[in-house]
């Protein structure tokens, strides 16, 4: 079997993803539309929360992807530091704005949800707060990429930042919990059937989550291809100037 690392070759990566992207995009659109339409039009209101429960179909998938995007960046950064495959560094770079958008969506939908439910747009609840901090980490990470001219140096420095940042993000989560007990819902998507939300909400939610995952993958692949090309443009232009 050919090694997985062959896709670390930029050309190979661009070819392969070029072949799968269209199909992936169609699948993403299908899942997202199905999930959101199902959730929005064909689910009942909750007896306590009324129609606001429909926000869950955006809020929860966005929140999950915001965290998973950071995890993906962490893994990609590690791969870059250890094996120095450029595609890996560029994939991390490509994922950051997607993760940031997901964080913002989770924050905004949460805020809009909070207004009717808790009577306030914003409360310094641990989960909300730690999301705000995650957003700051994304901002810093993106700003550092943008600030450094040399691409390899930028990849190295952002990877170091990502690793140190991850440790501190976990630490902040713990600290914030310690600091304030909060209003937010506990985890309800557990394996334990007792705690789960009712099935009517649960299945469309799963479809939405699948849609967001697909969307994330599609966008990251698309953006990584762009980053690869941008990087090559930079190298080619620099050499033209040298010659």
């Amino acid at each position: 079997m050919a090694s997985l690392w062959q896709y670390a070759n930029p050309q190979k990566f661009v070819q392969t993803t070029g072949a799968v992207l269209p199909a992936l995009a169609v699948l993403t659109a299908l899942a997202l539309i199905a999930g959101l339409v199902w959730g929005f039009f064909f689910t009942p209101d909750d007896f306590r929360q009324g129609s606001t429960v429909k926000i869950i179909y955006l809020h929860v998938p966005a929140a999950l992807m915001a965290i998973n995007a950071w995890l993906m960046m962490l893994v990609a950064s590690l791969i870059w530091l250890v094996r120095r495959h450029h595609v890996s560094a560029l994939a991390a770079r490509a994922a950051a704005p997607v993760g940031l958008t997901m964080t913002v969506i989770a924050l905004l939908t949460g805020a809009i949800w909070g207004q009717p439910m808790w009577g306030t747009w914003w409360a310094w609840d641990p989960r909300l707060t730690s999301f705000l901090i995650l957003g700051l980490f994304y901002l810093g990470y993106i700003a550092l990429w943008a600030a450094i001219e040399d691409p390899d140096a930028a990849a190295d420095l952002t990877a170091v930042l990502c690793m140190v940042g991850s440790v501190f993000a976990v630490l902040s989560r713990y600290a914030v919990n310690f600091w304030n007990q909060g209003l937010h819902q506990g985890a309800s998507l557990s394996m334990d059937a007792e705690e789960n939300v009712a099935d009517v909400f649960y299945f469309p939610l799963l479809v939405c989550i699948a849609g967001f995952v697909l969307l994330f993958v599609t966008l990251v692949l698309l953006r990584t291809r762009t980053e690869i090309r941008a990087r090559r443009i930079k190298a080619l232009l620099a050499r033209e100037r040298m010659a």
């Binding site: 450029h86 001219e149 040399d150 390899d152 190298a235 620099a238 040298m242």
Partner: protein, 204 residues
């Protein structure tokens, strides 16, 4: 100890500027690096000093044997001449700065703050630092910039004394150093523009 550079290639800003550079320097020898502006002298010297990785090739001497003097002198404006030198002596684990002060005629200025020196006097202080490192290989990037004739002579004496003690010196400069020394023109090592057919290579 000997400095043998073989087939070294180095890059700046991700772009190869020099390749297949080879030369050898034995104890007591010096070599002048020549070449037009932008050929890559600074890049080569930084690579040898261990500040950036080589693209290919090897240098026999470990960076720990090398004392590097860059375009900038690394002086602290608010410390006096003597304090600046003493600091570097302590960092390099040597002692006694008097010989270095004397070699570059800085005795009168020892108590003066570095910010009150003229351009040439600052440069002399930067060169005096080399004497307190106690390292055998000097790598100097345009050391005689801003120096007057008398100071260039002092510099020549210092280099000769260093060579006589078994040291080595590699000097990039555009002007006549005032003493006899072998020269190496870097122009012929200019990196050939590469064909970029393999996609991966565009990232090199």
């Amino acid at each position: 100890m000997e400095l043998t550079v073989s087939d070294l290639a180095c890059a700046r800003g991700g772009i190869p500027v020099l390749e297949a550079v080879s030369f050898a320097l034995r104890p007591g020898e010096a070599l002048l690096l020549r070449g037009p502006n932008g050929i890559g002298k600074t890049t080569l010297l930084r690579t040898l000093a261990g500040l950036q990785p080589a693209l290919a090739g090897t240098a026999s001497a470990p960076p720990e044997a090398i004392a590097y003097a860059a375009h900038a002198d690394g002086l602290k404006a608010t410390l006096s001449v003597a304090e600046n030198l003493t600091f570097w002596a302590r960092i390099f684990g040597t002692s006694g700065i008097d010989a270095a002060l004397a070699a570059f005629d800085l005795g009168d200025l020892a108590g003066r703050q570095a910010q009150n020196l003229s351009a040439g006097q600052k440069r002399r202080l930067g060169l005096a630092r080399l004497l307190v490192t106690g390292r055998p290989i000097w790598i100097l990037d345009e050391p005689t910039v801003s120096l007057d004739v008398a100071s260039v002579t002092l510099f020549g004496q210092a280099v000769r004394a260093h060579l006589a003690g078994g040291g080595m010196a590699l000097i990039a400069t555009h002007i006549d150093p005032g003493f006899d020394v072998a020269e190496l023109d870097l122009t012929r090592f200019r990196a050939a523009p590469q064909r970029l057919d393999d996609f991966d290579e565009a990232f090199a």
